[in-house]
């Protein structure tokens, strides 16, 4: 019995330590600026102060809007294109597919920053410099390897007989895709959409280099700039961080179960 109590005490303390950073974000967001002092960092706010959220909302609403536009557009595009690619690679084995696939996988391991400058120049040359569309383009291109991989492994499970049956019924490439493959893809789309949404929503480096004008900044860049100093009043950035965490949190609450199951069902095996 005493062993049990000890075990739970240890676990409890470990959990507290583990949750400390999240706890700090939340309590700091609810404190008055003048109430944020070092010795009381860990304490609950004496007065719950909601004003920071209103301020953060005014300051960050346009950036959140940018992030939403960017993330949703890039996620949908990379998911749709990845699904088509996966279909081709899984069901229309063309000559050279065995070379194309591993090369594509390499794309997932590349640290973005290596070719960021040529990419930046390219985006500027095609007239998308500084705009959100440039950033969307880059996210789609860099997202395609992983979305294609997930869909290819997912579609490999669809029996070839179904494709063949569609073909016998006279359906062509896109007919088979839209009538047989796409309707079966919902779990695959859930995995890919959550994955891409979280990635793009949280992404920092592309955003900070490719988008120059503050009006087009996504939330990550704005938050990092606001919280960059050492002795800033932390209530505002923390309230902003909480606002920025909400979309990914909601996505996980509603779709998380399918996401984890999809990942484990082998959709990401190499």
């Amino acid at each position: 019995m005493i062993g049990r109590i000890l075990q739970y005490t240890v676990l409890f303390i470990a959990t507290l330590f583990f949750l400390l950073p999240v706890y700090l974000v939340i309590v700091t967001a609810f404190k008055e600026p003048s109430a944020i002092t070092l010795s009381s960092t860990w304490q609950l706010p004496q007065v719950w102060y909601w004003e920071s959220f209103a301020q953060a909302w005014t300051a960050f609403a346009p950036k959140l809007q940018n992030s939403f536009f960017l993330t949703i557009t890039a996620t949908i595009l990379s998911a749709l294109l990845g699904s088509l690619n996966g279909y081709v690679l899984a069901k229309w084995k063309f000559p050279g597919a065995n070379i194309v696939f591993p090369l594509m996988l390499f794309g997932m391991f590349i640290p973005y920053q290596a070719v960021l400058i040529p990419l930046f120049q390219f985006v500027r040359e095609i007239g998308l410099g500084g705009s959100l569309w440039g950033l969307i383009l880059v996210h789609v291109v860099y997202g395609l390897p992983i979305t294609t991989l997930i869909f290819r492994n997912y579609y490999a499970e669809i029996p070839d007989e179904m494709i063949e049956a569609g073909r016998i019924d006279g359906a062509g490439f896109f007919g088979i895709y839209s009538r047989i493959v796409f309707p079966l893809s919902v779990p695959g789309f859930v995995v890919v959409i959550i994955w891409q949404f979280t990635q793009i929503w949280n992404e920092f480096l592309f955003a900070v280099t490719l988008v120059s004008s503050p009006a087009n900044q996504p939330i990550t860049v704005a938050l990092a700039q606001l919280a960059g100093g050492e002795a800033v009043k932390w209530n505002l950035p923390m309230a902003g961080a909480l606002l920025a965490a909400l979309p990914t949190l909601l996505v996980y609450i509603f779709l998380g179960r399918y996401f984890i199951r999809g990942l484990l069902a082998g959709s990401v095996k190499g």
Binding site: L19, F106, V141
Partner: protein, 302 residues
């Protein structure tokens, strides 16, 4: 001949390249897109391209690779990367496994506790780095320093004194929930009957864990390790926002070195060559880790 063809027709699509080429071009273009990230990197890795000296461009063969291989910083960065990835993998899988086993049991408030346990996953990496750096580990303003002083100890400047362990802790903290969630879902597919049977056969808790739970999780663990490896090998924002690779070179990993080459020295060719090495390293690590898991875990199956 026709008869033979019918018999061997197990993979119909392979016999139908014609219809593919009819609608091919649009589709092929899509496939080409997936090659851009690596192709672009490879292209630049063989060229000289320095923003400070843009006139001197051109093919330089393996010069960029040689320049990196002879640079002692490169090897330090590789070592740092392996230390970071290895430590974070070990910690996240171990703690994730522990938490998953814990959350597998029924106890009051489990749903709430589980939601709390995955909350680090929702803090943006950049924000997380800034919190750890300025609110927790800072030698003057940080909570750890305050705790140390309250206990009569001298505060430690964590990021300066123990840079790599601090980064490992920050990154592990973020990735433990991910490992836990995947492992927990893997556990839930374990049949209770099997555990019952083991108990009847007189297995103790450890034997049950070692010979039934762990082998059952082999596949889950390899998925966790592979996905985490992909991400950990390219970790950048956390280091950029907390230590900037320092002090000295203590936390300069390969991705950070690539960043320094590209944005500090404007040597795009060298940075691209670094990225090619990163891809090679990723493959070596992935193969090595997956083999190790396969051997150790599946070996436990009797």
């Amino acid at each position: 001949m026709t008869h033979h063809r019918v018999l061997t027709k197990t993979r119909p699509q392979a016999l139908r390249p014609n219809s593919f080429w009819l609608l091919g071009p649009a589709v092929l273009l899509l496939i080409v897109w997936t090659q851009i990230p690596f192709a672009l990197t490879l292209y630049h890795s063989f060229r000289r391209f320095n923003l400070l000296n843009p006139e001197r461009q051109g093919f330089v063969g393996l010069e960029n690779f040689a320049s990196l291989l002879t640079d002692p910083i490169f090897w330090t960065a590789i070592l740092n990367t392996l230390v970071l990835v290895g430590s974070v993998l070990l910690i996240t899988v171990a703690v994730g496994l522990l938490l998953a086993v814990l959350f597998y049991q029924e106890f009051p408030g489990r749903a709430l506790a589980r939601t709390l346990a995955i909350s680090p996953f929702f803090v943006m990496p950049v924000v997380s780095a800034l919190i750890w750096k300025n609110m927790l580990m800072h030698p003057v303003y940080g909570l750890f320093a305050w705790m140390a002083e309250s206990l009569g100890q001298r505060p430690i400047d964590w990021l300066a004194t123990y840079p790599m362990p601090s980064i490992v802790m920050m990154v592990s903290w973020q990735w433990i929930p991910f490992a836990m969630l995947l492992i927990l879902t893997g556990l839930q597919s374990l049949s209770k009957e099997q555990l019952e049977a083991a108990k009847i056969d007189g297995a103790n808790a450890w034997q049950e864990f070692r010979y039934i739970v762990v082998p059952h999780l082999a596949q889950t663990l390899s998925v966790v390790v592979m996905l985490e490896t992909i991400f950990l090998l390219t970790i950048f924002a956390e280091i950029y926002a907390s230590t900037s690779g320092g002090p000295g070179l203590a936390t300069t990993t390969l991705p950070y070195l690539i960043y320094l080459k590209a944005f500090g020295e404007y040597r795009i060719g060298v940075a691209a060559a670094g990225a090619v090495f990163a891809v090679i390293l990723a493959n070596i690590v992935a193969i090595f880790v997956l083999r190790m898991i396969g051997r150790n875990l599946q070996g436990g199956r009797t």
